[in-house]
Amino acid sequence: MKSIKRSLRLVSIIVFAFIAGMIMLVLKIQKEASFYISHSNTAQLGFVYDRNGEILFDSKATPETYGENYFIDVGNLIGDAKGQMTNTLVANNIEKLNNYSFSMGLVSKDGKSSIHTSLDHYANRKVYDSFGTSKGCAVAYDYKTGEILVCTSLPSFDVTKGYADIENFETGTLISKVMYGTVPGSTQKVSTLLSAFQIMGKDKLFSKSYTCNGIYMNKGGNEIVCHNSYGHGTQNIQQAFQNSCNPFFAQLVEDDDMPLENIIKCYEKMGYAVNDDKEQYFDINGIKCERASTTLKDSYEFNTQWGCIGQGETLVSPMQLMMWQSGIANQTGKMTMPYLIKYTTNVENEIGDWAETSYSEEVFTPESSTEVRQIMLENGKNYSESISGYNIGIKSGTAQIKDGEEENSLLVGFIEDERHPIAFCVLLENKNNSDTRSENIVKTMLDALCQ
C-alpha cells in the first residue's frame, strides 16, 4: 500500500503542476488580451487628444472628415496604426487605444479608450506653418513638469491619405527628426561650457582669456576657423560664448586645466555616448530617441576640438538638447524627463497611467547650471528684438552638413517665466535657402504657447 500511495503522490504532483500552469495561463491571457487584439484586423482604436481635447488621431479619419492636412503637423509623431511607421506614439502605445477588455470583448461604438497627450495642437500647427517651405523640426516643453507642448518635424504628411504616394515622399517624412541625432553646431558649446565650469570652477574659468584672429592654428597643426574672419580679439568666456567663437573654445579644450578625461567624464554624465559606435536610445512613452554621441580622442586633435565645438562626429537629438536646457533653467543640474502622454482612459472611461513629473540623475552640478544659465540669459539679451517680450536664455548654432554645402540653424534655450516655464530647441535646415529664420520660429512658438 505504501508503494501505491507513493505513486499516487506522483499523480497529484503532475496534476497540480498542470493546474498551476493553467492559472498562469489565465493570468497571462487576462493581462495581455488587449495587446493581442491590437494586432488583429478587427481592433477598434480610440482617439488621441491634445491638451485641449482636440483630436490628434482618429483611426477612421479621412481627408474629408477633418479637412486636408489637419493632422499634418503631428503626422510623423502621433503616426497611425497601419504599421508603416514604427517609432510613433500610436504604434508604440496601440494597446492603450484599444477599445477592448477581456470581460466586455470588442467595443465598436462607445468605447472610451483614448490617450490624452500634453501637446498643444494650436501652437504645434502655428510652428509647423511658420517653417513655410523649409524643413526642420521644433520641440518645446514645460521644464517644470515635463509636458511636451510642441513637437513637429518637417517634411510631414497627412496620415489620413495613407501611403499610396510613398515613392514621392521626401527623405525624413516618416520620422520625427526631434528624436534623431543631428549635428548640433555651436549649441554644443553649452555642453562644453558646462563641462568647463565643472572642471575648472567658476573663478578659474572667468580668469581665462584667449585671443582669436579669425583663424587659430592649434597645437596639432590644424586650422580652426572662426565664422568671423576678422577675429574677435581677446575675450573672456562670457564674450566668447556670446560671439560663439570657435578658436576660443579650441584653446579652452587644449588648456592644461581641461584634461580630456575630465571632459569625457562630464560628457558621459550628461548622457553622451563617447567613442562608442553602438546606437543607443532612451524612451519617451515608448518612442525611441537617439542618445547623443561624440568622438573625443586627443585634446590637440582637430576632430576632438571640433567635437567640443559642435562639428565633427558629434550628433545630438533636438530632444536631448532641449532636456539639458531644463537642467540649466531649473538650476538643479537634473533634467526634467519629457513625456507626451498625460493620461489614458480605458474602454470604460476609467482614467489610468497618470503621468508624473520625474527627473534624471544629476547630469551636471547645480553650481555650473546657475553660471551657464546666467551666461545664456546674458546672451539672450542680444535677441531682444527678434524674440521680443521674453526674458530668454538662448544659444544659437550653425551646423555644417554635407561637407559644408548646407548650413542648419539651431536655437536652444529657455524662457524665464513662472507661468510659462518653456525650454525649446528649433532646427531649421538649409538656412541660407530659407525664407524664414529660426528666431522667427521661436518667436511664433513662444507667442502661441504664452498667449
Binding site: 500552469g21 489565465v26 491571457i29 495581455e32
Partner: protein
C-alpha cells in the same frame, strides 16, 4: 452494481451527464449560430449526442464493473468534444469525429479488458516488448524519415500515437519484478529496468529521425514516471537525492538537446510571434487573438473565425473553444479531464501494477495537454500535439480511449491467477 445504491448512483450519474449535455445544446441554440436555415443540422447534432449518451448507458450495463465513474466522465467529455468539433465555424455534425469517438469508446473497452487482471498481464509482459518493437518497426519502415503518418488512402494513421499506450505498458512494473535483481560488477540491477531504459533511448532516436519531436516530451514523461516508480520504491530513502539528480541530468540533457538541435527546431523554439505575425508566428498569434476575441464567455457556437487557420481543430483546439465558447468554458472542460485523471487518487488501485499504469496514463495526458495548450498560447514552444479527447484525430482518440481503459482497469480490477481459470468462489472456513 450489485446493490440498489449502486443502481441509484448509476442512474443519477447518467442523468447528470445528460443534463450537462442538454445545457450545452441549449446554450448552443440560444447563443450559437442557429438560424432557421441550419436548424436541421442542430437537431441532428442534438439527437446524435443524446442518442450516443443513452446507447452508451445501456451498453455499459453489460459490463460488470465495480465503479463506473471514469466511464461516465469519458462519455461526458467525448460528447462535449463532439459538440465542440461540430460547432467550429458553423454548426453541423462532425461525422468524422463521431466515428472516432465511437472507436475511442470501443478501444477503451479493449484497454479495460486487457489490463483489468494485473496478474495475467504481468505474465504477458514480453508480448508488450514485442508489440512496442513492431510499432517502432512500422514507424521506421512505413512512415519515412520526414513524416509521421501512414497513408492508407481513405484515412491516415499516426503510428507514434499507438506507441504511447504500448510504452506505458512497457514502463509499468510490479513489486515482485523489482525484487528480481542480478549482480553486475557489484551493482544490483533489475534487468527489466534496463530494458525499459533501452526502449526510451530507441524511441528518442526514432522520434528524432522522424522529426516528430512534439511527442518526444510525452514519452520522456512516461519514462520518468516509470523510473520514479522503480527507483523510489525499493530505495525510498535515496529517493530525494535520486529525484534531484534525475532532474539535474534531465536539465543538462535538455540544454544539450537545444544546443545540438537542428536549425528548424531552433527557429521554432525561439520565435517572437508578434514580430512575425504573417510567418512562423501566424498560427499562434491568430490563436491568441481568437482567445482575446472570445473573452470569458465566447462569441457563441459557430460564430468563430479561427476555423480559417490551419490545424484549428487539432493543435489550436483550445483557442477555437475559447473563441466560440469562452475561456471559462474551456477551463471547465480541461478541469473535467483533470478530474477524470485524478480519480485514482480518490479510489486508489489495489496493486502496484495498476498504480504505475495510472501514473503513466496521467503523465501522458497531462504532458500532452500542457504541450498543446501552453504551446498554442505561446508560453512554451509550439509543437503539433493534440489535446486528448478534445482534438480531432483518429489515432489520438483511439489511443486516448485505450489509455482511459487502462485507468478504468485500475479502478475495477480482477484478481485471478493466469493459470487458474476457476471462478472466484466463497471460501469456506
Amino acid at each position: 452494481m450489485e446493490t440498489t445504491t449502486g443502481k441509484v448512483k448509476y442512474v443519477f450519474s447518467a442523468i447528470f451527464v445528460l443534463i450537462s449535455h442538454l445545457a450545452m445544446l441549449t446554450n448552443m441554440f440560444y447563443n450559437g449560430n442557429c438560424d432557421p436555415s441550419n436548424m436541421n443540422k442542430f437537431v441532428i447534432l442534438a439527437i446524435t449526442v443524446i442518442g450516443l449518451d443513452i446507447l452508451y448507458f445501456i451498453a455499459m450495463l453489460f459490463f460488470k464493473q465495480s465503479t463506473y465513474t471514469i466511464d461516465f466522465m469519458l462519455i461526458f467529455i467525448l460528447n462535449i468534444s463532439l459538440i465542440f468539433q461540430s460547432s467550429f465555424g458553423g454548426i453541423s455534425l462532425s461525422v468524422k469525429h463521431l466515428v472516432t469517438c465511437i472507436a475511442s469508446l470501443i478501444s477503451c473497452r479493449l484497454g479495460f479488458i486487457l489490463c483489468r487482471n494485473h496478474k495475467w498481464i504481468q505474465a504477458k509482459k514480453k508480448a508488450f516488448y514485442i508489440a512496442t518493437g513492431i510499432i517502432m518497426l512500422c514507424i521506421l519502415t512505413l512512415t519515412g524519415s520526414r513524416s509521421m503518418w501512414i497513408d492508407l488512402g481513405f484515412f491516415t494513421i499516426q503510428p507514434s500515437e499507438f506507441l504511447k499506450p504500448a510504452f506505458i505498458l512497457v514502463c509499468t512494473t510490479y513489486i515482485l519484478e523489482q525484487q528480481n535483481k542480478i549482480s553486475v560488477w557489484k551493482f544490483n540491477i533489475v534487468p527489466e529496468n534496463l530494458i525499459c531504459t533501452g526502449f526510451i533511448i530507441l524511441i528518442c532516436g526514432l522520434q528524432w529521425w522522424c522529426r516528430d519531436l512534439g511527442s518526444l516530451p510525452t514519452f520522456v514523461a512516461i519514462y520518468l514516471c516509470g523510473l520514479c516508480a522503480r527507483l523510489c520504491y525499493p530505495k525510498a530513502k535515496l529517493s530525494k537525492k535520486m529525484i534531484i539528480t534525475g532532474i539535474a541530468s534531465l536539465a543538462v540533457l535538455a540544454i544539450t538537446a537545444i544546443i545540438l538541435a537542428p536549425p528548424y527546431v531552433k527557429s521554432r523554439l525561439f520565435v517572437d510571434i508578434w514580430n512575425d505575425t504573417s510567418g512562423d508566428g501566424y498560427q499562434q498569434s491568430q490563436a491568441l487573438i481568437a482567445i482575446a476575441n472570445g473573452g470569458w464567455f465566447g462569441k457563441g457556437a459557430g460564430n468563430g473565425d479561427l476555423h480559417n487557420i490551419f490545424a484549428y481543430e487539432t493543435d489550436l483546439v483550445f483557442a477555437s473553444i475559447c473563441e466560440e465558447w469562452g475561456l471559462f468554458f474551456a477551463i471547465m472542460v480541461v478541469c473535467a479531464i483533470l478530474i477524470m485523471l485524478a480519480s485514482p487518487l480518490v479510489n486508489p488501485p489495489r496493486s502496484y501494477f495498476h498504480a504505475t499504469l495510472a501514473t503513466g496514463v496521467c503523465s501522458a495526458f497531462v504532458v500532452q495537454m500542457a504541450l498543446n495548450i501552453f504551446g498554442s498560447c505561446n508560453m512554451i514552444p509550439f509543437t503539433g500535439v493534440t489535446v486528448p479527447f478534445i482534438s480531432q484525430g483518429g489515432s489520438s482518440m483511439v489511443t486516448c480511449g485505450f489509455m482511459m481503459g487502462m485507468l478504468i482497469a485500475g479502478q475495477s480490477p480482477v484478481f485471478k491467477n493466469p493459470t487458474n481459470n476457476k471462478k472466484k468462489k466463497v471460501k469456506s472456513k
